[in-house]
């Protein structure tokens, strides 16, 4: 069967089971948009290519299937660089297809030429410049294989226009060997002797802790984690990337560790004598000052990516493999656990003394952002997906919502990309049309990517957006208040410029505003009844509210600051 390269590209995507592409056409990718008309694949036309990338990420994080984005060359390609970097930091499987100028023009500074494979070399798991139409099926199949196996990540395929216009005889790589990847060996069997060593450390530990990272979600190991934790009674912390990997309501769960982690979670890490590290990478936001981090802990480090071992913290036992397999093996090998009753007594005392706290909502005062999140959560169906931007609202959304199942918390962790929330919510909803998706956003973040609500309305993707409008780049304001003597520099945004309600309505969404708790509840209830168009609620929140607990940057986790109401005289 003779096909054009463009037809082969679309057919290859169909072959991979792709049901949704997020994208925006232009000159170099034009040939590919033609066969798309005849394809069963849904294309979601974004308003900015950054939106396409974050939508693909939201889709992937919600469904576990790789997200696909397609854009044109030059500025189209550079506009999607931020989501690619974001996906690289958070190990999200993405396949990004970029148009490129014809091969004969490459290197001549042709119109809309840009070296996107060069630009993204350091922020993709891999990228390809396809030089013949014949290579297209292999490039697509290899891209999906690389993006989804081992430690997942973004893969970019750059396709010159003449390649998509050329004819090829259709073929499909049926085996892994056909992919021609002699240097790629993503999986490895678990080394049994290391499991035995780990089990011995667990048996000897007095203060063990399960330090759970995003790898547990990637490896779909939540059930195995639950079984292991329940059998051993070892306490659990879930990082920002792992929220939902272990039920928040579970008695063994101490919550999130790190810079804005729960006191008990942060302190348990500090005092632990054994960190059973599962798919986590000792990120600086978790460790605080490294030389003071968990000083007494031995380290079991399980990860699919061997390069994480001993990168930040020396491991006593490093186990390479899928976390799911490691947990199963560990569960089988762990015959007994030391007496950890005293450890639990200590932990429970921390939990009692320092629960998550904020000043109660005074009905006459401005809205407390934490109270808004709790009110939305209380009225949300089980399985509701939450996305967020980056800032204070993100930390509150991570702290004050109870995540019970995997894939319900979607945020930008490693890169901290403002503007992630709205497009990620659209992508998540596109992947799970039956689920409610709330974006808990900041006013600053909302302004970075809000135009994608036009996409959401046009494509019939009814997400709900809660803007915690504190009229500030709040997280930066918090740092300036605490560490720069309240010298506020370029952080004020204004509560009503833009007018978020009018803006939402101009984009075809329902726009609501709430200044009091009563209005807030009414707006949330109304939003929950609207299922045909996106809803945006402008919650006017108190700008002076700060995120606690907090480990100041550069401090050790022992210097954690709890909420002022919890500090002794």
């Amino acid at each position: 069967m003779q096909l054009t390269g463009a037809q082969a590209l679309i057919k290859s995507l169909e072959q991979m089971g792709v049901d949704t592409i997020f994208g925006l056409p232009g000159g170099a990718i034009l040939p590919v948009y033609d066969p798309l008309i005849d394809s069963s694949i849904r294309h979601i036309l974004v308003r900015h290519e950054q939106g396409a990338g974050h939508m693909a990420e939201g889709y992937a994080m919600a469904t576990g299937r790789p997200g696909v984005a397609m854009v044109t060359s030059g500025p189209g390609a550079t506009n999607i660089v931020t989501p690619i970097a974001n996906a690289h930091m958070d190990s999200t499987p993405l396949v990004v297809i970029t148009g490129q100028v014809p091969t004969a023009n490459i290197g001549t500074d042709a119109f809309q030429e840009c070296d996107i494979t060069g630009i993204t070399m350091g922020i993709t798991k891999h990228n390809f410049l396809v030089t013949t139409a014949h290579e297209i099926p292999r490039a697509v199949a290899a891209a999906f294989y690389i993006a989804t196996t081992g430690r997942p990540g973004p893969v970019l395929i750059d396709v010159p226009k003449d390649v998509t216009q050329a004819m090829m005889e259709w073929w499909w790589p049926e085996t892994i060997e056909d992919l021609d990847l002699p240097g790629y060996h993503p999986e490895s069997a678990i080394d049994g002797s290391l499991i035995a060593e780990a089990a011995a450390l667990i048996a000897a530990a007095e203060r063990p802790l399960l330090y759970v990272g995003g790898g547990v979600l990637k490896s779909r190991a939540s059930a195995e984690l639950l079984a292991f934790a329940e059998r051993t009674n070892i306490p659990v912390v879930t990082t920002l990337m792992a929220r939902g990997a272990f039920p928040d309501s579970h008695r063994l769960h101490l919550g999130m560790p790190g810079m804005h982690g729960m006191y008990a979670a942060v302190t348990a890490m500090q005092q632990s004598d054994l960190l059973i590290t599962l798919g986590a990478r000792f990120d600086d936001r978790v460790t605080g000052r490294l030389d003071g981090f968990a000083p007494h802990a031995k380290i079991i480090h399980a990860d699919i990516d061997a390069a994480e071992f001993n990168k930040i913290r020396q491991a006593d036992v490093a186990i390479r493999g899928q976390i799911k397999d490691t947990l199963l093996a560990l569960d089988a090998a762990t015959t007994h656990v030391g007496d950890i009753a005293p450890w639990w007594k200590t932990i429970d005392a921390w939990r009692d003394e320092f629960p998550l706290a904020y000043d109660p909502q005074d009905p006459a005062a401005q809205l407390r952002p934490q109270a808004i999140i709790e009110a939305i959560a209380a009225r949300a169906k089980p399985g509701t997906i939450v996305t967020s931007g980056v800032g204070q609202h993100q930390m509150w959304a991570a702290q004050h919502w109870q995540y019970e199942i995997p894939g319900t918390w979607i945020n930008s962790g490693g890169a901290g990309t403002m503007g992630f929330g709205v497009p990620a919510a659209i992508g998540a909803k596109a992947g799970h049309p039956d689920r409610t998706v709330w974006c808990i956003d900041g006013d600053g973040c909302f302004q970075m990517t809000a135009q994608e609500l036009v996409t959401a309305r046009a494509e019939g993707i009814p997400i709900k957006v809660a803007i915690l409008n504190n009229a500030y780049l709040g997280m930066v304001r918090q740092w300036q208040e605490m560490f720069y003597e309240e010298r506020y520099s370029e952080v004020y945004l204004s509560p009503d410029l833009p007018d978020y309600v009018m803006w939402a309505e101009s984009m075809g969404c329902v726009g609501l505003r709430a200044r009091t708790m009563e209005e807030a509840i009414a707006a949330i209830d109304l939003a929950n009844t609207i299922n045909d168009v996106p809803v945006v609620i402008d919650f006017r929140t108190d700008a002076s509210e700060k995120v606690f607990p907090m480990v100041p940057s550069g401090a050790t986790n022992d210097e954690i600051l709890v909420h002022p109401s919890q500090r002794g005289a």
């Binding site: 060069g118 070399m121 798991k125 410049l129 690389i146 002699p182 240097g183 061997a306 390069a307 990168k311």
Partner: protein, 181 residues
């Protein structure tokens, strides 16, 4: 590519704690940029780098990289290199287990007075003359990095037109196994 730190107290070709990585890569466009970019990005210092096709099919190339093992733990350098999809195999060699050789080519200006001194230096170093004219001599030495260093120092006494070194390639000594494969 990372510029090597000045290594105090040692000769120019022997970094304080260097290590040799012999990396088999797919011979694909951009593969060298991927490796160089990785080193730059992660702050690993490359001391020298030599590339050549590794087989007749032109499918693979071998890149011999001398790394500064002070700039990052070798395990990290190997681990990150291994993640490059086009990297097929990495062998690392500690200097004491390696036979290291490199090539030095130099063109030196000579006159009646200096010609003999240059020829003596060439003979003493076991180098070879590969080209001559009335005013210059081009010579070549294939030898250990230390021998190349020594010759380079000797040639400093003369007016040099150009001196190039290839960077080293290495194989394990037959008397020892590579540290890891």
């Amino acid at each position: 590519m990372a510029v090597p730190e000045p290594y105090t107290g040692v000769t120019s070709s022997s970094p304080v704690r260097h290590h040799i990585l012999s990396v088999l890569v797919e011979n694909k466009a951009g593969v060298l940029a991927r490796i160089a970019g990785l080193f730059a990005r992660r702050g690993f210092n490359i001391y020298s780098l030599a590339v050549a096709p590794a087989d007749d099919s032109q499918r693979f190339s071998r890149i011999t990289i001398v790394v500064d093992a002070e700039s990052a733990p070798l395990e990290q350098i190997r681990g990150q290199l291994n993640k490059l999809i086009n990297v097929v195999e990495i062998k690392d060699l500690a200097p004491k287990e390696a036979l290291e050789r490199e090539l030095l080519l130099a063109t030196v200006e000579v006159d009646e007075e200096t010609r003999q001194a240059v020829l003596d230096a060439v003979a003493q170093a076991n180098a070879a003359i590969v080209d001559v004219n009335d005013t210059s001599v081009t010579l070549m030495l294939a030898g250990t990095p230390a021998a190349c260093d020594a010759l380079e120092r000797q040639l400093e006494a003369f007016a040099q037109i150009e001196l190039h070194r290839t960077g080293r390639v290495a194989l394990p000594r037959l008397s020892s196994e590579p540290t890891r494969n």
